[in-house]
């Protein structure tokens, strides 16, 4: 029962951190709240029993993406305004949540058939998908490199 209460607490803090993103004005605080969402999401993975995925989530999202966002965006302290319309945000998010969660009322959830992903099945899952991973990574690298080139060109023209 303690685990369930801890899960409820973590879930509530996750949602609160997501809402805070639109209420805070400082860029540093906004990125900090997004990093909190990443961290709590990895905790939710732990509640599901997926320890390996939680570790990968921390490595990729906290160690990589959040650090990059902190260094790149939040260090400049450029913008300090909040343009989120809170009334529209709250009304629309509650309405959208109700619409997409309504079909769940007719479903049965038994909590059965839970499987755990472990390191032994990594090779099995990666087998045959390696070219797709490479194509994906190269495409993303090309997109990022192209974005930087285009921005440099725009900046030079200006």
């Amino acid at each position: 029962m303690v685990v369930f209460e801890a899960f409820i607490l973590v879930s509530l803090i996750t949602v609160i951190a997501a809402v805070l993103m639109f209420l805070l004005k400082d860029v540093l605080h906004i990125v900090l709240s997004l990093s909190m969402i990443f961290l709590l999401n990895s905790l939710i993975f732990l509640f599901m029993g997926q320890t390996l995925l939680a570790a990968i989530q921390i490595f990729v999202m906290i160690g990589g993406v959040s650090t990059f966002l902190f260094v790149g965006a939040a260090s400049m302290q450029y913008s300090k305004f909040s343009y989120s319309r809170v009334a529209i945000l709250s009304a629309m998010s509650i309405l959208l949540f109700a619409v997409i969660a309504y079909p769940l009322t007719t479903m049965n959830f038994t909590g059965m058939a839970q499987s755990q992903f472990n390191s032994a099945s990594i090779a099995q899952q990666f087998e045959g998908s390696t070219p797709i991973f490479y194509i994906m990574a190269l495409t993303m690298f090309g997109v990022c490199f192209g974005a930087v080139l285009i921005l440099r060109r725009i900046g030079a023209a200006k």
Binding site: S11, Q57, A73, Y78, L96, A101, S115, Q116, M140
Partner: protein
């Protein structure tokens, strides 16, 4: 034991907040970070469905989500630094005049 519906509800809540955040915000940075929230909810929902119902085979979509999130962060910082350097407004409703 925690039923999967609770994880699904958390994922739906994050997704709703992310989508509403894009619609309700005019700040460039907040809009992009809302997409990150949507990606987090997508990864959570994918893990829930694969491990509670289908089983196995989650690595490819999960790595796809993480790759998109990382690439989006890089593009975001590139745009952000560019806009900060040239003192462009981060209000997306004012960006249309720069294309003219």
């Amino acid at each position: 034991m925690i039923l999967e519906i609770y994880f699904i509800l958390v994922s739906f809540a994050l997704f709703a907040i992310g989508v509403a955040g894009i619609a309700a915000s005019r700040h460039f940075l907040i809009m992009i970070l809302s997409v990150e929230v949507i990606l987090v909810s997508a990864s959570l929902l994918g893990v829930v469905f694969f491990f509670f119902n289908v089983g196995g085979g989650i690595m490819l979509p999960l790595f796809l989500v993480w790759t998109i999130a990382a690439a989006e962060a890089i593009a975001l910082v590139a745009f952000y630094r560019y806009m900060a350097k040239f003192e462009l407004s981060l209000d997306v409703s004012k960006l249309s005049k720069y294309g003219e």
